[in-house]
Symmetry: C2
Subunit: 290 residues, 2 copies
């Protein structure tokens, strides 16, 4: 039995980078004190979700991984506590800007960077203005506690990404995110749709999943979003094992038996029975090309 | 507003083909009387789920579509009632045997045949003995009441199939199935896992879904399965709108607003933001080839 304890954090964010890092630090330490070995922080936790409006001035938030203060801080913390920390950041690479993540292993070693593949665009979520679509492809990371798949926010809506990470041997999927109300239509509450979609990836791939989302109402210019938290952890059949509420900061912690998950995954037979010879249409936008 | 009313039936099956067709006929008429326009019958409803054990003698059950009694019967019924009926059958084509389906349109016109792509194999579900993996690829069917995607049973576990049908413009997904207990391990109850996986496809593709499963305990030789019914219908966000219980014969009927579903699907933006250029690994078994 190979047990791993995972955690998701959720918190409200302001404009003060150091203050946000301090809150995130406290949550990571809280999760570690409860035994967590892989701890997921939410997407772009260094500041307010600035993508609500389009301001070229905000491009200045982007840095290389080496220059990013959160990565520097949590590299030390990962080593100190012996925990794995995926850290989301706004990446600048030359003249290209990405929504990226680096996985810091329990010895402080930093992985290569994953760049968010799917970039949303809509009222309040103007990400195509801030980020180029990622060019790395979906990635898995070998850490002290297992091989994990990590993708970012909007990626979580796409079965393709989850499947590719599972095909590459991901034993747990991690999705840091920032999602809440829709500024143009107060009647939309995507929370259940959001959870169902991801529980479906977890169920179809027989891989447990950890999702971390922010909370709080954030105002940027003339727009505002109330983020709905509801961070959650599933088992290897897509069932929710732990779930945070929609407004409280904190951590959720869960121990998983990865050997049992791996056995169940093979026993169910779906990976054996896949038909890549029939999946050509997935490589088109409209299903029209094989 | 383009409303379509759909239904799923569920029933117990015996070895008497004509008796099963009669029960199916009654359920189709019941659904039609409640306004249903597209009515889903369960997988291989002409007889007991014979795949529990491996008997070459059962190959004789396979026929061409033209020779199949259920297809003949429901071609008349579809025309009489003005309803669309996907009809599952055991297909013989030369020396090849398939688990197939034909969609009978409301005027009695028969579609080309879809052959089940994913074939399971495990204790009690010995389908690789009876069926070649389908060679048609995933299909959509233009009917009087809309463009529908239809796949079969084990296909329902695969995000790839649902996605391809959605890419090809399916407005509703239909899955006839036969699933229940696991003869080798009474502790396994896949019902919730099964529903979650499919609700995930519905949620991720923003397409409503209709699933029809059989009920009843069937004994074949030294094996037995209790089929768990739980046929269900989702909305365009993957939420269950209607659900049958695990043991009662009957129909569930639901009216869907396909225009609203289509609008929501585009408004959510996921099809716009797909990255086929990154999905190459889906065409491999192990994620290793791009």
């Amino acid at each position: 039995m190979r047990e791993v304890t995972v955690a998701a954090t959720q918190m409200a964010c302001g404009w003060d980078v150091q203050a946000n890092i301090k809150v995130a630090d406290q949550l990571v330490r809280e999760a570690a004190s409860q035994g967590a070995q892989i701890i997921l922080l939410q997407e772009l936790f260094e500041r307010v979700y600035f993508c609500q409006e389009q301001h070229a001035d905000y491009y200045k938030f982007a840095t290389s991984a080496d220059e990013n203060p959160a990565i520097a801080h949590f590299t030390s913390v990962a080593k100190e506590l012996g925990v794995v920390l995926p850290v989301s950041f706004y990446e600048r690479a030359g003249n290209a800007l990405f929504n990226s993540i680096v996985v810091i292993d329990a010895d402080g070693h930093r992985s290569s960077i994953y760049r968010k593949s799917h970039i949303p665009d809509g009222p309040g979520y103007s990400e195509k203005f801030y980020f180029s679509p990622g060019d790395t492809g979906f990635m898995v990371f070998d850490t002290r506690f297992g091989r994990i798949g990590v993708a970012i926010c909007w990626d979580q809506w796409f079965p393709e990404g989850a499947r590719i990470m599972a095909l590459k041997g991901a034993e747990i999927l991690f999705y840091p995110t920032a999602i809440g109300s829709e500024p143009h239509d107060a009647s939309i509450n995507s929370r259940d749709h959001w959870q169902r979609t991801q529980m479906g990836h977890s169920a179809a791939n027989l891989v447990p999943m950890v999702v971390s989302n922010r909370i709080g109402k954030e105002v940027v210019g003339n727009s505002n979003i109330t983020f709905y938290g509801s961070s959650f952890i599933t088992d290897g059949f897509g069932a929710k094992l732990k779930e945070a509420d929609d407004h409280s900061p904190g951590v959720i912690v869960q121990t998983l038996d990865l050997d049992a998950c791996n056995n169940n995954r093979l026993a169910w037979g779906v990976f054996r029975d896949r038909r890549p010879d029939l999946y050509g249409p997935l490589l088109s936008k409209d299903g029209g090309r094989d």
